[in-house]
Amino acid sequence: MKAETVMLTGHDGGEINGYFARPLAPGEYPGVVVIHHNPGYDAATKEITRRFAANGYIALCPNLHYREAPGGNPDDASAIMRANGGVPDERCVGDAAGAAAYLRDSGVSNGKVGVIGFCSGGRQAYLIGAKVNVEAIVSCYGGNIVAGPDALTERMPVAPIDMTADLRAPLLGLYGADDKNPGPEAVERIKAELDKHGKEHEVIVFQDAGHGFFATDRPSYRPAAAVAGWQHVMRWFGKHLATKSH
């Protein structure tokens, strides 16, 4: 595979960087936009991006914190982003749309793009799925998808749960039973809302796992949930992003 830092056009025509990984063999590949977690555009998320390339996808992780610290360390960029109130939802959607366009215009795309996000990126994947043309969505333990008025801010003005009717693609939700945000009630609410609007979905809750069970570099890592979770992710994207046989 080949993995490298690229520049792409994001929200409002702004240039941001991203991490692009692709198989080297010629072909037309399905694409995945990888949305990083709150600690930023870090080594762990780049490793996830490479995992998709190793599994036959072209994958691009847009750096949602690029504007705060171009070329800076992910932890420093994340700190500035937090102090500024977090990534504005509108900007995140624009950057994800730019990443999807980059993949589709890469010359090695089969035209289909999915989105996956982890932690805060799990929330963002949900709202991206309602705002950007994608063919599959995977939302991993995104907190605050269900959010009351007191949790809304100028930068995050609408709870993603209230965008469920607008979801443009089938959604796979992966959660840990021991997570506090999203807790069991929020996960049930998400399922109910997806059912209510007739959205194709699967919601899987792993026992003996909490928030961040995919994170191999953190104490929250739960190998059993992560191994099974990755199988579900690849099955979901394989089903919804594969090139249709003629």
Binding site: H37, N38, P39, G40, D42, E68, A69, G72, N73, P74, D75, D76, A77, S78, A79, I80, R82, A83, G85, G86, C119, S120, G143, N144, D179, K180, N181, P182, G210, H211, G212, R218, P219, S220
Partner: protein
């Protein structure tokens, strides 16, 4: 879970970071995922200078017990030091806005 919280505190301070000493005017204090400490959550403090570059940040990630111990030690040292010197921090005015803005 991500808390996304942040409690900014104005400071009159200096800190030594990667590029030497720098004025510090803000501490962003929050409890959330650490970047480096091997814990799910930690009490984190980012010391920054308004207008400073991202590399000027001085970061600290503390376990909960470590954070509580540090907070108590700061207050105890301050009380003992002021008793010895006669200083009184309650008479000090920490500027609402950094003086170099």
């Amino acid at each position: 879970m991500c808390t996304h919280m942040n409690t900014p505190v104005r400071l009159h301070a200096a800190g030594r970071g990667r590029e030497g000493w720098t004025p510090i005017d803000t501490a962003n204090v929050y409890y959330d995922h650490p970047f480096h400490l091997a814990r799910e959550h930690s009490l984190n403090i980012d010391l920054t200078r308004s207008g400073g570059g991202p590399q000027e940040r001085i970061g600290l990630e503390l376990s909960g017990a470590s954070a509580a111990a540090l907070a108590h030690a700061i207050l105890a040292a301050l009380a003992a030091g002021e008793q010895m010197t006669g200083d009184d921090h309650t008479r000090e005015r920490v500027p609402d806005r950094p003086s170099h803005e």
